[in-house]
């Protein structure tokens, strides 16, 4: 807002115009203060909820991307087309509806840094078919241990040892 004792900003050296624009400028500063003071009333409860949900969703995704943690809920919704779903109990959801989720998961995984990629690869590649809880636990262990994974060969190495990923039958 323009100061009260100085020429209004943006109007250097100008005298009053036909419409007394200088007065109008000062009045506009008052109008601006009035509008700013009423900002809170213009945000509905629904809009507040949408904004808050959106922010927290994006923060959760960002945390996953940073490898800070893998939210438990994330593993529950990740599915890869053609590779089944982590939890066999929800297999029916991976039929037609799973494709978009899988595509989102692919997009998400491709943008992850190494630590999160490791976790996601373990969950999505090596441990497909294992229960969600089992995958989550092994992912946590793997992240904590610094395991490296080769998704193509479905093998992972740790401390010099190379281990083949367990098949579903072997694991069960």
């Amino acid at each position: 807002m323009s100061g009260q004792n100085e020429p209004p900003k943006g109007m250097p050296g100008q005298g009053p115009g036909p419409d007394d624009d200088r007065v109008l400028m000062a009045e506009m500063d008052g109008a601006a203060a009035l509008l700013r003071s009423s900002d809170e009333r213009h945000l509905s409860d629904d809009a507040r909820t949408r904004i808050a949900d959106g922010v927290m969703g994006r923060i959760s995704a960002a945390r996953l991307g940073d490898g800070v943690r893998v939210p438990a809920a994330t593993a529950d919704v990740i599915a890869f087309p053609g590779r089944g779903r982590l939890n066999g109990e929800t297999q029916q959801h991976s039929q037609p509806q799973a494709q978009p989720k899988g595509r989102r998961a692919n997009d998400l995984v491709s943008s992850l840094p190494p630590a999160a990629m490791l976790a996601a690869s373990l969950v999505l590649g090596v441990l497909v078919g294992v229960s969600t809880e089992g995958a989550r636990q092994m992912t946590s262990i793997a992240v904590a241990s610094g395991l490296m994974v080769e998704e193509e060969t479905q093998a992972f190495t740790y401390d010099g040892f190379t281990l083949a990923a367990p098949s579903r039958e072997e694991f069960l």
């Binding site: 943006g10 115009g17 009045e27 008052g30 009035l34 900002d39 213009h42 945000l43 904004i51 922010v55």
Partner: protein, 201 residues
Amino acid sequence: MSGAVALKNGVQSESDAELLRASVEGSEAAFATLMHRHMHVPFAASRRILGDATEAEDVAQDAIVRLWQQGEDLLSKPLNVPAWLRRVAVNLSIDRLRAGKRLDVRDDLPEVPVAPRQLRSLERADAAGRLQASLDELPDRQRVALTLFHIEEMSQRDVAEAMDITEDALESLLRRARKNLKSALADDWPGLVASFSRTPA
């Protein structure tokens, strides 16, 4: 996360700086409280610039996420959180306007954009509501110029740069916008001006 969670954790009365520090240290409740306390600020700023509530919600989200992302850096110096959010929202809104080339349309023609009969329907609204409604009715370029210069308190040079026009053109645009806003409010203007003096600083 919700305000209820924040309340449960007893962080509602903490200062912005305390909440931001707690957020950086991992408290989701603290960040939720900070978010709910100030989310109307980036929303309102963006809403006035873009003239679209849905888009303003997206901008508010962007601004708040940036607060979370940059929280640690922001702690290194005194920070006015609402002012920071407002500035980020303004910049993001300007980016959207420029990306969409929404300020290219000439708006020289309408001198009195709101007919008095439209204003009558707003008689029951409060002063701020009537003012906002009239501002919304201005052509885009006039609304944006008035908003950035008077409400967001940006310098004339910065506004001109944001709108990709000369400072002379901005002066002309602002004069026209102020005149149109006053004309649109017609008989309401004196009463509004009187109410300005009662507006809390």
